[in-house]
Symmetry: D3
Subunit: 283 residues, 6 copies
């Protein structure tokens, strides 16, 4: 995992502008307009108030610079790096009103994304020493998928599909509509681009047997199985497919599931149930 | 609180389109394109899998209709109403591919917003029997403030400012920059629109005394005080200002703080730390 | 009133881009393309051709820099400052084609907004020596509300609501629909955020009596009353509510209405009937 | 002039949405949300309160239908038709909150555009009995050029350029930069599309002589001339070019200038100094 | 390949609106406004004037309905179906001005996309009787990738990556930067999502040998090889990887390259060098 | 024709952003993210691989700078200048990942637009020594009209209408709907702005006679005539109108048609059937 920005700033600009517009649009910051004397400057620190893994510094920087390109912004803890309480993540210097206008948006992004990175790191830690990776899902916050997927990577996790548009995942509905496992896999392979992976969900070992006999899939999603079933499934697959376990993957299940030998564990909660990391701006 | 839509659909369209674009943009739903036979139709149910308060049905309906205006969508549990496990919140009938294309976006919105409404309801329940109301903050998910604020209302909460643009909230930085409590309040009242409320944050009872002597504020934010201090503050205010308590307002503190007699308790966690409500689509 | 920019440039960019696109979109400036030799440079002055109060220099500067970031733009008369005929408000130096491309958009904004500031200053001058302030309404030019409200402030006026979204103003329709003055005020106070002011419109002194007896409002809008009625209303209110007079408030009525002692006079004409201030670009 | 819509609705949608968003964005209509009972319906009339020429009914209809497609909207006085005080221009029936949400935006557009149409009609009336037409300029309100140009047509006026992009107008700066009248006209004709007209501005009859001798222009703009000079210029042109008079064309000058025989009189004030037409919504 | 729309209309709306705005924005259709009497209706036919494969009927329908939802549009030849000269592809009935406003945009899309489908069909025909499929590249027209990729499918071709964002394609630069074939493949597999395919480009059989020995790729791109090299490469791969031939793949080379046994032939010219299919609207 | 940029960059930004978003949106460049080490820099050359006329360097530069403002981009062959195989058109230095992210978009624009410029130059060469100019049509690629029209000029061609919005072109449908040639021309002249040219299409010399007798047009479009008819038409017109020949104007017809003496030959193929110019990026 790289610790420098993987995404060009321009891909994040609209996201930041919408958030700033949400907070300032229509009238601007009526408090600062009223009470902060012109020419007041601040030297601010974006501090961590609890331990975790940082994400969102890139987007926080963009937020400050969108409001005021003349602010001096320095990132001290890069996205993907750990923080402990009291650490200074970023310093911002310049016009006081500009800093106050961007403060909440920068913190809302950074707290949310660092919360995701931190939780992901907690999950990945549970699988330490195994080959199993933690991966996210499409259960992301509407509008934030790109940056939430990055935050998962900052926390040491891996990314699943970014959307319905970039890989094939065949679920029970698809199997039923297409007329069974064989039909659906043949149809998918015939129609899909050769640049797209195909994953198929199975709920039982019988289904897995059928998937293995038909071929055509790259990955198999082992849904809602217990650890014994998972271990048996991994044995049956024998490395011919990538294996992924899903369904109720709480933190305390990870070690056991990883022990069953699956390649990936997908965890919706990484992005659908986010506890913000406590960050604050001090002047 | 009304149980019908308070916001016109058109204000939510861009939000929904961006979320759908995030999931489908570039190539569409490559799985359904490949394996669902043309003409397949579904009769789907959006079910609650745990108890809570529903929010996001309006936006879920818009999502289904944006993908396919011909879908028949019926809302059975309106936003702001409670649900229990197994309840059918919404039914959707029509083209299978259309339903599958909108499914995840609809669920991501509805799960997130119902999670907020449910948590808000838990907080408001703790203040039952008092005059104290629970209110949210600006610590919202970037891009979702409008609907998250609605979800807080669906859960029985009240809304604080929607942005820096619609009311004045004077914090310690503002006081320092303006040269003290008297200066900041006089300046704010002189400059602010007569249609804007002014709230000022105090950390000590001494500050409160000064605020009361100066006048000009509508509300006072009592920050990080314990219950005894809060009760004393309420007594000092004597109904001349609206009182709001904030700072570390976890669920188990609410009864005590409400008992101190404040008018409002503001809780950042309502929107910055969201546990999705478990909703699913069944066919 | 501050004489430096209160709004961050980024909030105005889309407004400027749309105006430039309106003038240039599709093909650009076909005249300058055809006849201005490459490399021609201009030193241009944006001059006042009549006396008034300047507004729109911030947006004019953004217009020139959007077309060409290399232009040197200097503002000599800041927004909110008076001008007299012949005054140089701004100087622009650089590529001739760039200056010609932005000229009309810059002037259209600046002339329109300075017209508003100038008219507002004329109204406020009529209330000199009284405590009465002049305030604008929501009768603004579609798309320009943010900058027109700023122009009112540049002219020494005060701002009323920025939209239906930031304060409560109860009119006769609302009273009728809610079932009377008591019902509407109780309902508004129960539902509204504590951070929103409530104003209620009255047409008669009897209505005012009812408003005062019910309580719950912050401001009262005294609509279409003559000066004697206004004076009586102010006396009845006795400082318990902010008073605002509205309805046919032409320039020659201001002194009399201010003499009646109201806190605010709202004037739709400030923004709905705008006489441009004569500004021009000289080379 | 047609009395039915000349522009497809889709070209006006963004304009209407921005105006509605300006008035409602962020939180919606907080007054109606609070106090109007669900299910309340209105039967509203958009009335003229003074005499004039109507414009903006198309855009008012779009505004009501954008907020609520279920409203029943009937246009009784089409754009381009005269109105007198008390005339009903449009009726709107349906949900009360929907009507209140769109009311101000609809009226702001319609009042502004009808103001332009009415003023244009006043100017054209002064030229009755002559061949002279009144035409607008690029001195329009930023963002509203398309509909303001339509309003000029609704008032019986003609349209000049819609932007720098659709015709060539050579002014003194262009002449100077290109090296004189002959050089600029030759260059313009050589470079310009054959589908673009060329107009050239002259301040003196000597300049006009040179323009006529060089050829290449379609129209000549006679700037800041008195009526005698204009008559002489018209005689010199002898029908070889279209003649347009401009510069300080107030209402009381029109008859005289038209008498001088020019083809067009261009009037910036039609769009840069707009007096709204008094329209209101009654329930 | 399905012959009904695979993409929801809403994904195509912005594309259509931008094209219509490009043709109509600023002033609308000034010809039809001037000369077509109100109330004129047309019954129009969109006809094929040469043989080919149709694509773009979905987008043409959206164009007509964006301009005027009341037009009656019937598609007679669905996207992906062949046409011969004189075939009626679509009929459009309704307001004459509406049809004329949308005509050119509809034809520009349909001619361009049908040109791509037709050329793709010519390529795929050359590989008839082999297992080889024709696939497109990222050498598409800026802004049109989504619909051009669909057009390739309508012509019987297959889709390669839709962007840099949905699969991994390792080229010579990547190999050099990462430090060789082994390093680049190991790094790609370690970092990439398990839902992404990896393809690697090789120019020589030696490179292919190395790729095969390292493993980790799903596909190999055989660049600029002659048919003998390709046949040898296919033999070396032995079905372990998907094989794709690229580089100068003109129509007359397809049969030979397909004969060499590769799985895919990628052809940039399908989308970078488009001959419009001659379609016209007759009234 | 100028060899420097005629359009301000800001008019092209959205076009470039959409193209980059199409290629990168959702996830970014997953290949470079995975395999290019941080800190790798490139010195790249954008080379011509065949002879032609360059267009699109301005937009290529914008693409590189949108992705990374720190890249050093130097244009060596300006838009409108010829290139031969091996010529370096542009150099780009800086971060390797940034260059790779923008590469394809820059090349897709430049190849497409240079293809148009090159083909236009081939057409104009056929008319060398005559007064006849080659002009484009509205048969452009949706979304690219502005830059395709520029490319035509870079190739030495002239521009026809940019849209339905900037000039009047009366075709057979218009004549029929308006009631004949006289009616349509009178109506057009009465309604049209004096700043708009009017062109009318004729298919026969009889129609031309009628057009000449009625007057009111600026240009006549001689559609689908052979060279003898064209020569006769030119003689009949006698310089009173601009003449334009259209209909099946392939490269081998140009010399003959130009010899017939028409002023313009319009060629749809310049923009509807584009062969990309082979350009590539070398490192």
């Amino acid at each position: 995992m790289t610790h420098t920005d993987r995404l060009p700033d321009f891909l994040l600009l609209d996201l930041v502008k919408r958030a700033l517009d949400e907070d300032l649009g229509g009238a601007g910051d009526v408090t600062s307009q009223a009470v902060i004397p012109d020419g007041t400057t601040y030297s601010a620190k974006l501090n961590a108030r609890e331990a975790g893994v940082i994400s969102g510094m890139q987007i926080a920087r963009i937020a400050f610079h969108t409001v005021d390109p003349l602010l001096t912004v320095k990132t001290l803890i890069a996205d993907g790096r750990p923080c402990k309480p009291g650490d200074i993540c970023m310093t911002i210097e310049g016009d006081a009103k500009s800093i106050l206008m961007a403060e909440r948006v920068a913190l809302n992004f950074a707290g949310h994304l660092s919360g995701i990175a931190t939780m992901t790191a907690a999950y990945t830690a549970k699988a330490t020493g195994t080959k199993t990776k933690i991966t996210c899902t499409r259960k992301t916050t509407p509008g934030l998928r790109l940056v939430e997927k990055e935050a998962v990577r900052h926390g040491g996790g891996s990314n699943h599909r970014f959307g319905l548009n970039d890989a094939i995942l065949i679920k029970d509905n698809h199997i039923a509509a297409a007329g069974g496992v064989r039909a659906v896999l043949e149809r998918a392979r015939a129609v899909a681009s050769h640049m797209r992976r195909i994953e198929i969900e199975v709920d039982t070992l019988d289904q897995l047997t059928e998937v293995l006999s038909v071929g055509g899939a790259d990955c198999v999603l082992l849904d809602n199985m217990d650890n014994m079933q998972l271990a048996e499934a991994v044995k049956m697959v024998g490395g011919r497919l990538i294996t992924e376990a899903s369904g109720g993957m709480t933190l305390d299940r990870i070690a056991g599931v990883a022990g069953a030998g699956v390649d990936y564990i997908s965890v919706g909660a990484l992005t659908h149930t986010v506890k913000t990391l406590d960050l604050g701006l001090d002047f």
